[in-house]
């Protein structure tokens, strides 16, 4: 293959175990102490340049299975993808050979302006066509299947014709992409829109689910007295979300699971502790499955 990197390391698959989202404040500690973490995931957009930040990523990639999680491709943009940005992500994927590559079911670019948040899409046939086209273009450019993550949303549109869970199942079916099931996001959106989270899980095809995300959320009371659940990635995983995670494992079987924390990032040991909880639940689910199979 022309341009294939002769020093590329073999792609290391992401194990069915608990990983941790690696953020800048923990770079030094991870390189120095080599903590016992099953795998790491990083935000692709933070590693697009060269220099010392790229060296850190290469060392982490050498020592651990690594997953790349994009936050800026804007798969829901009606105007199509930013080709230059897609090209840079493709170059990073070619260099790093991540075990998994993922993005979000959301949009953040219109008229060429980056709006710096994961904005909600109306669940319509037109939006489904747009996202399918953009996912296909991404998978072609990266020469691999990607996982698409269900969003956490704070508002809905009046004219949605497709339930979000059916939208995601159809997206996976039409494009062959996998699903990154963010259990906290299901909880957040279910709280905000009055959905049944179990119904959401039941609609997703287990074979398409390639990864699970777990994170903390916060509650905010608006001026009109209503309470909104906010996906702030700034707390421990809530008890209801651990319960929903167990339900997800019963439905999907054991899957690689990530602990994410992005606001008020705590000591790394706290993330290890959250990962240990996920590991225990993964083991219990695997045990229950074996018991059923016996």
């Amino acid at each position: 293959m022309p341009g294939a990197s002769h020093n590329a390391i073999d792609a290391r698959p992401i194990p069915v175990a608990a990983g941790i989202g690696l953020r800048f404040p923990h770079h030094d500690q991870v390189l120095r102490q080599q903590p016992p973490v099953a795998w790491f995931e990083v935000h692709a957009e933070n590693y697009l340049g060269g220099g010392s930040v790229r060296r850190v990523l290469e060392r982490v990639r050498r020592d651990y299975p690594l997953s790349l999680h994009g936050v800026g491709l804007s798969l829901g943009s009606a105007e199509g993808l930013d080709r230059a940005h897609l090209g840079r992500i493709a170059e990073l994927v070619r260099r790093i050979e991540p075990g998994l590559t993922s993005e979000h079911l959301s949009w953040s670019v219109v008229d060429g302006e980056y709006l710096a948040d994961l904005l909600p899409l109306p669940m319509t046939e037109e939006a489904l066509d747009v996202v399918c086209r953009n996912v296909e273009q991404t998978q072609d450019a990266l020469q691999r299947r990607i996982l698409v993550e269900n969003p956490a949303t704070y508002l809905q549109f009046q004219y949605c014709s497709i339930p979000e869970w059916e939208f995601i199942a159809a997206l996976a079916q039409r494009t062959g992409c996998g699903i990154l099931c963010d259990v906290n996001n299901i909880h957040v959106s279910a709280c905000n829109h009055g959905w049944d989270p179990q119904r959401y899980l039941d609609a997703l095809p287990p074979a398409a689910v390639g990864e699970i995300h777990l994170a903390g959320h916060a509650l905010r009371t608006l001026d009109d007295g209503s309470v909104v659940c906010i996906d702030n990635h700034g707390a421990r995983v809530a008890a209801e979300v651990w319960a929903l995670y167990e339900a997800a494992l019963r439905r999907f079987g054991s899957k690689p699971t990530l602990i994410e924390w992005d606001t008020d990032i705590p000591a790394f040991e706290l993330l290890l502790d959250e990962a240990a909880t996920a590991t225990a639940l993964l083991r219990r689910a695997a045990g229950a499955r074996h018991a059923c199979a016996a």
Binding site: E45, L48, G51, H85, W107, S108, V110, Y114, D117, V130
Partner: protein, 257 residues
């Protein structure tokens, strides 16, 4: 039902405050997204301009950053690349007019940010030059490493930047703001980002070299300047890997000696 593009344009207008949502409940929910957007962009600028923030304080910085974000919203999802216009914006930002050197410090911080995040690149293999004859060599123009910036600013931005980041009040107090323009070369080496101060002649040569001026022009110019050491300066840039590639530029007739 609006088409998706129309809906996204209308949501952008509401997020940025150019249009009003249909009711108060929706406005409050939209504000959650608006807060995340501003927080993310202000934080991206804080990371790239730490000395500017120390000079003006966190609260003033946030106000300036928000005004900048309104005037110059990002065009790319790679936020390490966001803020190229911040120095120019600060120079015209009336509330900051009392700190005359703020724009210069911001310009230096942007060059430092570029040096930190620029793509990796290896220096030119000198064996590629060794095979060229003299007339061909004089037609070369070079491409500089993407981490390099050459900056000429009115105030001693390098000294201010160091003193502010090291919180060295004594150093800050001893800076002579009237020392005249400073000529800087910013680059990345194995140890990290380096900011060098050059004399004016050497800086001018380096700036023209890195901008792709062909060698015959640089040597012609050097021959007219008594304090120019063109060959030695070129050798230094080459040996430090600051030049990564070259082109052949045909000189105008009669330019070659």
């Amino acid at each position: 039902m609006p088409a998706l593009l129309e809906l996204q344009q209308s949501m952008r207008a509401q997020l940025l405050g150019y249009a009003t949502p249909r009711d108060a409940a929706r406005a409050q929910r939209l504000a959650i997204y608006r807060d995340t957007r501003s927080g993310t962009l202000v934080n991206a600028l804080r990371l790239s301009f730490p000395a500017v923030q120390r000079l003006v304080g966190a609260e003033f910085f946030e106000g300036a950053a928000r005004a900048f974000i309104r005037a110059w919203p990002p065009r790319s999802a790679c936020l390490n690349d966001y803020g190229a216009d911040f120095a120019g914006f600060l120079r015209t930002f009336a509330p900051a007019a009392g700190i005359a050197y703020l724009g210069d410090v911001a310009q230096l911080e942007w060059a430092v940010n570029r040096a930190l995040h620029a793509e990796d690149s290896v220096g030119l293999d000198l064996a590629r030059l060794a095979v060229l004859d003299q007339p061909t060599l004089s037609c070369l123009s070079f491409r500089a490493h993407p981490a390099i910036s050459l900056l000429c600013v009115q105030f001693p931005a390098d000294a201010i930047w160091r003193a502010v980041l090291q919180q060295d009040a004594a150093a800050m107090a001893s800076i002579d703001l009237g020392c005249g323009p400073v000529h800087l070369l910013i680059e990345r080496d194995a140890a990290g980002v380096q900011v060098h101060r050059l004399n004016a002649a050497r800086w001018q040569f380096s700036a023209r070299l890195c901008a792709g001026t062909p060698l015959y022009e640089l040597f012609d110019h050097g021959a007219k300047c008594p304090d120019a050491d063109t060959a030695a300066w070129l050798a230094e840039h080459l040996s430090l890997g600051r030049l990564i590639d070259f082109n052949l530029t045909a000189p105008p007739a009669g330019a070659l000696r």
